[in-house]
Subunit: 283 residues, 2 copies
């Protein structure tokens, strides 16, 4: 157990600390996510269980865009010595990235399942209207840029919360820029190209246009890359879906809320790649 | 003026009556829509004016999917003798259909512009949650089937309001079925095929994936066809957008709300065409 530790590169969600529960990594490729309180942990476990075994999920989609699920495990918690807590065992989606730059983007104008209890709906709706979710179809929940020396940019939650549409555009530009700048030096390598973020998001979109299995309320697209590896073979940026505590079964209907937000993100990122290609304005 | 009359085949919205304002047609191809109360009429006029002249709207999209706009005209009103009321002059999108069958589908999980006043948002949100809009990404606002003898099916508003997802599926099946049945006899001709509803909706979708000019809150897709002409040359079903009182300018973002609902409608109709193609289950 001694090799389990809090991940260094988490950008959103609950963090582990000596006095509270948080995710752990084993350094060998596994990620342990504590089951969340209320019924969220059970719901996320139910999703992973159903999704992993579902015959109608294309294996390519499952392998490319979701962390692999390896069951659950009881782990002792530093917060309550002598007690243990169930954790989901998942692939560590940042495995092998020496200096990961990560963005967590919560997809959908609406983050509340339609049949959720009223107080929860109201809380989510206020957040959706108070952030860019309703206007933009997504919001940035976390962003972090690293270089070999460590994390070089990680805006805090209050900064993210107050972000408007131009602010999101700046963040998604800065995420692929030289340290401290907004030059989009890595836009073509990270967002563009054959194995880039855009190509992967478009493959995911094609599945969302037809899948009527699940509706992914409040789930995120997590982007990651290593600036020193992204132009090398095998260094392609990664696109994964995470956070499934509010996934519900569909009723024979596509997840139009997630799909709409995903299309908005695609257009937004495509605009960054395109403007990056345009020759700089001469003064 | 004497040739103006209330249209026979309206399926949703305000109807003209001796004591109230409603749209009029001239029988020669023009449709007169009274400017709505509050600022809705002015907003719809502003949209048509901006949209008609906008250099970034592809002419093919404007011609295929929108009623042509011919300015405004003051018309005397039966409701208030001696007074006149401004009307939008539009193409009558049902022109030439001897026995039109019409469906009005309000697109989008969310029908309220994000910056609308609070009481209006709350009213719309209640309707969106109380109808299929939130779950399905659209709702049927009106449906009508005609044959040469006249209207043979037109559920009233209370019936439409109480409709759930299976109910919407039944309506969209019945809309292309023999009178009184649910045999989908016309599904291939109306929904399928080269010039059919699905092909047209997909063309519209491709534009919504890239257009960042307008967000079409509370607008409808209006489908129409004539059962006796739909399989003949020139009898292709029609797909038009209508009702623009709540269109707002975009902020460099696609209309993810409309697009998501449109994709949901496409999948829903595609399922009807596909199930219609499958051999019937033998008992």
């Amino acid at each position: 157990m001694s090799d389990l530790r809090a991940p260094e590169h988490q950008v959103a969600g609950h963090r582990a600390a000596p006095d509270k529960l948080g995710p752990l990594v084993d350094g060998a490729g596994l990620f342990y996510k504590p089951l969340q309180a209320l019924d969220r942990g059970e719901q996320e476990l139910a999703f992973y269980t159903a999704f992993s075994a579902h015959p109608d999920v294309p294996p390519r989609i499952r392998d490319a865009f979701f962390p692999r699920f390896h069951g659950t495990r009881l782990l002792p918690t530093a917060a309550s010595p002598g007690e243990s807590h169930p954790h989901l065992i998942l692939d560590d989606i940042l495995k092998g990235l020496a200096a990961p730059s990560v963005t967590d983007i919560k997809i959908g104008a609406c983050t509340w399942p339609p049949r959720a209890p009223e107080p929860y709906v109201e809380k989510c709706l206020a957040k959706d209207r108070g952030s860019t979710s309703v206007l933009l179809g997504f919001r940035v929940s976390g962003v972090m840029v690293s270089d070999p020396s460590g994390v070089v940019w990680r805006p805090d939650r209050s900064e993210l919360k107050g972000t408007d549409i131009p602010g999101v555009r700046r963040m998604l530009r800065r995420y692929v820029s030289s340290v401290g700048g907004e030059d989009c030096a890595l836009a073509a390598a990270v967002y563009g190209g054959e194995g880039g973020v855009l190509a992967q998001l478009r493959e995911l979109k094609a599945w969302f246009e037809v899948q009527t299995l699940f509706h992914f309320y409040s789930a995120s697209v997590l982007l990651s890359y290593d600036a020193n590896a992204v132009t090398a073979p095998g260094g392609a940026p990664r696109v994964k879906l995470v956070d499934f505590a509010h996934v519900v079964e569909s009723e024979g209907v596509i997840d139009h809320n997630f799909l709409g937000g995903l299309c908005s993100l695609i257009k937004f990122i495509d605009d960054i790649v395109s403007s990056d290609k345009a020759p700089p304005v001469q003064s």
